[in-house]
Amino acid sequence: MELLTNIGLNHYLTISALLFGFGLFAVMTRKNAIVILMGVELILNAANINFLAFSKFNGGMEGVMFSLFVIVLAAAEAAVGLAIVINIYKIFRSVDVSAIDTMKE
């Protein structure tokens, strides 16, 4: 029970890894471009957890600063990504990424 009472760095990292795995899974398996963007958000947040966890256990403020930047960047990324998705939809009349394979040629 010590594992549940004594919360250490490993707990944060495990949560972060799980979150990263979900995000990655979503990116790899979903067909909908918007869901994929959501997966990307999960991955970014997994990284944020890592930054914050290391920051807390190291005692500096650098990790906090980094995660704030990441949040800002995530917002920008989401805006750009959604714009791309809208454009893709305009061209292909679909947001299904498996259908968008013109890069193959």
């Binding site: 990655l24 990116v27 790899m28 398996t29 994929i36 990424v97 498996s98 968008i100 394979d101 013109t102 890069m103 193959k104 040629e105």
Partner: protein
Amino acid sequence: MHSLIQLSIAVLLLPLLSFVILIFFNKRLPRRGDFLGVGILGTTFAISLYIFWSVVVQAYDPAFRVAWDFTWIDLGNVPGVGPLVIKMGIVIDNLTAIMLAMVTLISFLVHLYSTGYMAGDPRYGRFFAYLGIFTFSMLGIVLADNLFAIYIFWELVGLSSYLLIGFYFEKDSAADAQKKAFLANRVGDIGMWLGILILYSQFHTFSYQEIFANLAAGKFGMSEAWLTAAGILLFMGCVGKSAQFPLHVWLPDAMEGPTPVSALIHAATMVAAGVYFVARIFVLLTADALHVIAFIGAFTAFMAATIAITQHDIKRVLAYSTVSQLGYMVLGLGVGAYSAALFHLVTHAFFKACLFLGSGAIIHAMHHEQDMRWMGGLRKHMPWTFATFTLATLALAGLPLTSGFLSKDAILAGAIGFATAEGGGVYWLIPFLGFFSAMMTAFYMGRQIWLVFFGESRTHLKPADDHHHGHDAHAAHGHDLHHEESHGVHEVAWNMRAPLVVLAALSVFAVYSPDPLDGAKGWFMSMVPTPATVVGSSSGDSNHSTAASPAHHTGILLAEAVPAGAHGAETDAQPEGVASEGHGAEAGVHGEAGAHEFSDPRQAAIAHAAHEAHNPAIMISSVMVVLGISLALVVYVFRIIDPDRTAAGIRPLYLFSFNKWYWDEIYQATFIKGSVVLSKVLSWIDTNIVDGAVNGVAVVTKKVAFTSGGFDRYVVDGAVNFTAFFVNTTGALLKKLQTGKVQTYVVMLMLAVIGYFIYYFTQLIS
């Protein structure tokens, strides 16, 4: 340029003009342009006659000579040959002037005659064109002043002869005859060319005068055998062109040509070109070469006369008679009777042309019947032809009061003189053969005259299978004969009669000499004296220096020089060196040909002996001629001896003569068969050995090529193709990675990262 030279250039080129116009435009001209040919030749003859008049009659100088030349080709100094300059030029002396007049006169008469004889021929215009090119070439030979020029015209004459013999080329016999003539001439011409080259190799010039001057100065660098060889080789040209044994076989076959051509080319002019050429080079012939020439001439004269006796074809008799008479001329040159031989050339040209044109008139009137066995009785129907033909026959037989007597007698006197001077023995064979041939000539011409003109017409005797008129057997009856006359034989028109009359008139002695028994008193032999040899006899080499220049050739020793202007413009224009010679007119006119003084002892001895032999020669030849004619009378007129039974009695001899001594068969069996066998052998070598070698090389090359091709295909190409195949396959595999789907890339990225971590950690652990 001397005015005579200018005129002679006109004489030379006018017939060429006639040829060019007629060959291209004869179909567009009225009457196919025959009037043009006749007119041009008439003009040419008029100019030639003027030249003859100026040179022979007005100048009356045995040493007359005008020359002009220009450099035609200058190749500079050719390596291995030396300076190679070919000049062209014209020389006019008495002989040239006489020949010009003779050739153009006969050519003109033959042109005129042909307007009648050839009328209605499909190639009428072309015939006149060919006559033009022939006349041009013949005049070129006459006028040429060097060996190169004479060789060119020599070949041109051969060409025109070829064209005219094969004028009726639809007939196989004519086509064969023209080939035979051309090939036989070619054999002679090769010898002639080699002879020219021998002289050129020594003197680097083709000019007669320069060669003679060099020889006289003793500059011939090789042994005398070479000079003899050069002379005999040059004589080979004459053997071919003048139909001497062993190349005589073409001339009788050449009678396949139209009869006017036979008269012009194969009797009067072209065949005389050989004799003329030997006369031109006479002074460089050594004694040995002259002996060869004399024997060949004597043998030819004899052989042809024996053949002429038995021939049935009227033209063939005349053809063999021509060969025989050419043999006389060659004999005459060989024995040193230079003037006599050339005299005979001219007289023979006229009477033989007359005989041929007469026979043409007969053939024309008989509707192209040439076999004398089916003629007879023509005297009544063709009086003009009969008269002229008979006169020419008497001249040919050599009866006194005719031109032929003068010239033949002079040759025979020369032959006797030669035999005496050479010391008898085998040399007596030459006059003997000459006299014997003279008798046979009289015999076969008597036979011809009788068969053709006397007796009754024998047209009906001709076997029916090739009978022209298709008469029935009862044609023998008088009224049928009359019937035949009315639509058959008749005298020819004026344009064919006139040439006969002119030529017959030129067969009378008075044209040539005031003395009916001695030609040496006439203008011809005075104007064409025997030149002194420039090579000397083998016994006296010292004579080289005395015969300083061939211009000396008259050998007349005259103290007085020519007074300037004494003989008008002609004398003035003579080249220096000739003008300063004694002109010799005095001695030439009043002296006798045989009395010239030669510096060469051999020549002098022969000339002297020939002069001595004049009277015996007259007597013997007259006896021989009378004998021959009497024999003909006995056989054919009085029929004391039956010719057919006699022929049967000496059948082998008769067949020997009738088949022309089997020369054609001998040549067929030796040279022609030999050539065929040789070419078969060569062909075998070619197909089996040469081709075998070539094919072997080909096989080897092919094998090598296959090997190298295989290496190329499998190794080099294999490497290249494998590279391509490898890249292609790899590309095809790798292509599948690029799906275009973002998620695949993400998976790969993930796998790569995982792979990297695995690697990193394994490294870390170890």
